[in-house]
Amino acid sequence: MSMDVADSFVGGFSFDFGFLAEASAKTTHAGLSALDVCGMVMVSVGLVFFLGAAVGLYRFPDFYTRMHAAGKGDTLSSLLILLGFGLITLDDFSMVGWLLVVKLLAIVLFIMLTSPTSTHALMRAGYEDGVEPVTKGSSSKNTKKEVES
């Protein structure tokens, strides 16, 4: 892999984390280590959360409800998918592998800080601009489907 070039700079020594290296070396019959299985589970859970966010963004009747679904589901699914791929990538415990995981954690931290911030800014901009929330019994102008009832 491309790790060899950067490994030559740092000497290519690897840390010896006991249980982690043991979990990585011990593979199941399908060629998967325990870290791979954990990463796959996290990515699957993240995809389920993103499915919820996408369905909410498609189906909800109002700007605020859509923003509710999009903000929460998007943040949590991004965090879970990125951490899951970090676990899948972490198969050899070299210096470059740890640097890669630290960069992934930086992206996770950045998304965890900025996604609620942008959600809050958009919500406030929409509120001050006068987007009407849908109320009970009255079909708002913002609703996608004007159901006569």
Partner: protein
């Protein structure tokens, strides 16, 4: 086995972006489009990590994903502030209140 799962995760991310793209296309207000664009941008940063895992060059694609997430955040905040400022400026009135108060204080 891991590669097949990575391909599946990337394809599922791409397919699940399509409802957000629909919301961009037919969103009633401009804020709906903006929210959907924000979601698509965040998921594109995640999809870059998936592509990097698939190519075996994750050390390069992680930097792309970080820069893309940063640019997405800055663009979203900029458009939100732009749409916010268009109407909230002419409603400021506390500057006018000060002068009558001073006159009342002088009169009494």
């Amino acid at each position: 086995m891991t590669e097949g799962f990575t391909v599946f995760a990337g394809a599922a991310l791409f397919v699940l972006m399509l409802p957000a793209l629909y919301r961009v296309a037919v969103g009633p207000t401009s804020f709906d489009r903006l929210v959907a664009v924000n979601v698509i941008g965040t998921k594109t940063a995640v999809l870059l990590v998936v592509i990097g895992t698939l190519f075996g060059r994750l050390d390069m694609f992680v930097d792309f994903a970080l820069a893309y997430a940063l640019l997405n955040f800055v663009a979203s905040l900029a458009v939100a502030r732009y749409l916010n400022r268009t109407r909230s400026t002419p409603e400021r009135k506390p500057a006018k209140r000060r002068t009558p108060r001073k006159k009342k204080a002088k009169a009494s």
